[in-house]
Subunit: 255 residues, 2 copies
Amino acid sequence: MKFYNSMIMIIKKSKNLDEIHSLAPDFVGEKEWFFLYWIAYIKLINRGRISTPELCKIIPISQQTISRRILELEEKKYLNRSAGSRGGDLELTPKAYVHLENVFQNLQHVFSSKSCVEQFHGKLKTGMGEGAHYIKKKNYLKQFKSELGFEPYFGTLNVQVNPDMYEFLNKQLKNFKQTIIQGFENGSRTYGDVVCYFVTIWSENKPDDKVPGALLLIQRTSHKPFVCEFIADECLRDYFPIEDDDEVFFEFRKC
Amino acid sequence: MKFYNSMIMIIKKSKNLDEIHSLAPDFVGEKEWFFLYWIAYIKLINRGRISTPELCKIIPISQQTISRRILELEEKKYLNRSAGSRGGDLELTPKAYVHLENVFQNLQHVFSSKSCVEQFHGKLKTGMGEGAHYIKKKNYLKQFKSELGFEPYFGTLNVQVNPDMYEFLNKQLKNFKQTIIQGFENGSRTYGDVVCYFVTIWSENKPDDKVPGALLLIQRTSHKPFVCEFIADECLRDYFPIEDDDEVFFEFRKC
DNA sequence: ATTACTAGGTGACGAGTAT
DNA sequence: TATACTCGTCACCTAGTAA
C-alpha cells in the first residue's frame, strides 16, 4: 500500500470539509496539477511576464478561472507572483515542482517498462507488391534466412493500424528486438538496409495459433503511413486464412 | 503557436456542444488524463484484473465515478476491458499511451532544463559547530583553496530550507557544478569526501551583493535534514549582517 | 489595457440501489 | 460479491462587470 503513496498526490476526499483541511491544507487536485504543468511548460518557452488574457489563449480555461486558480495556488504556496498586478511574473515554487516530478517519475516507470502495450492490431490490406519485390532479391533472402531463421514467403502481409497505434508503435520500436539486413548495390540500383523486428502474428480465426515472423522497416520505400509489412515462412493469408479488412494481431517477441 | 499544440490535449471548450463533438469526439480532460495515468501506473505493479471497489481504495474517487469513467473512456477508445463484467482486465489503448506520453515528454523538457528553479532560500540557523570542525582540518583546507579558489572562513552558515525545497534541491543537485574534496585518515578517525557545489549567497539586506561560496555535502555527518551548510571566504553572518531566522538566498553558479 | 469580484447556470460527483 | 443506473446536491466554471 505504501507503494501507491507516491502516486497519489490527491488525498481522498472526505465528507467533512474540516478534515480535508487538517489533512491536506495544500491539496492539489487534477485541475490544479495540470495548471501547474501548463505554467511550467509555458515558462520554458516564454520566460517573463504573461498576462491572464494571454494565458487564456493557450490554456483551455477562461481568463476568470485562470485568475482564480492563480490566487488559489498562490495561497497554497505553489506559485509566486513576483511583480504586482499587471502581468506579474509567475514562478512555480519547489513544492510545485515536487508535485510535477512525482508524476514525471511515475510516467518514467510506465514508459521504461517495455511492455506497457503488448499487443498491436490492424486490418489486412492488399499491398502494392513493393515488399515482395524486395524480398525476392537473393541478397536479402540469404540474410533473412540466417538472421530470422526462416526463408520468407514471397510476399508481405500489409497491415494497416490506426494512427495512434502507429505513432505509439513507432516510438516504442527502439525497445524491441531487431536485426538489420544489410543493403547492397545491384548495378544501377541501391537497395537499402532493412530493419526487422521479431514478432508473432495471429488472426481472430486462430487466436491460439501464433506464427513467428518479422515486421519490416524498409528504409527507402515510401510505404504509406500506418501500414506495417510483415513476413513469415508461409503465406499467412492462406494459412489463417484471412482476407482484406480482417483483423490481424501481432506482438513483439521478448528480447 | 504550433509549438504549444503538443502540450494541449484538451481542446478549448466552446459554447456550442455540437462543435466540441465535431472537433474532439475523443476529448480527454484533466480528470480523464489522470484516470488513465493512475490505471497505467497500477497496471505496472498489479497486473491482472482489478475490480472497481479495489480501484476505489487506491484512486481518490468513488466506485460509481470509476465505473462511469471506465465506460466513458471505453466509449472513446482509451480503454479496453478484455474480460466481461466481474473484475474485467483493464487495458490502455495506444491512443491512451500517446496522451500520457505527450505529457511525459513535456515534463522531460521541464526537468531537463536545469534551471527550472533558479533561486533557493531558507532561514539562518545556528549550527552545532560540526561543519567548522571539519573545515579546520588542514587537509581539507588545502583542497578548499585549490578547488574553490578561496580559503574559507572557519565556520559554516547553516540555512534551514523548507522540506519541499530541500527535496527538490536534492533531486536537482546532480545537474549542478560540483567538486569533490577528497577525504583522508587521521590516525584513528576517517574523514570522508566532501561534495561542494558552487553557489552564490545573498541576504535580504543586500539583494545585489551576491557572494560566491559553496554548499557542502559532508558525506558522513548526520547533519539534520533540511539544513544546508555553506562556506565562503568571510564570515557571512557579519558581512551581510544577518542573524538567526533571517532569510538567506542562494543559487547555483552555472556550469 | 489589466485583475478579480459576484452571480447564476451547469455539469460532475457520490449515495442509494437494482441487477 | 460485482457493475452501473438514477437522482439530488454541490462545486466549479464562465459571463458580466467593477476597480
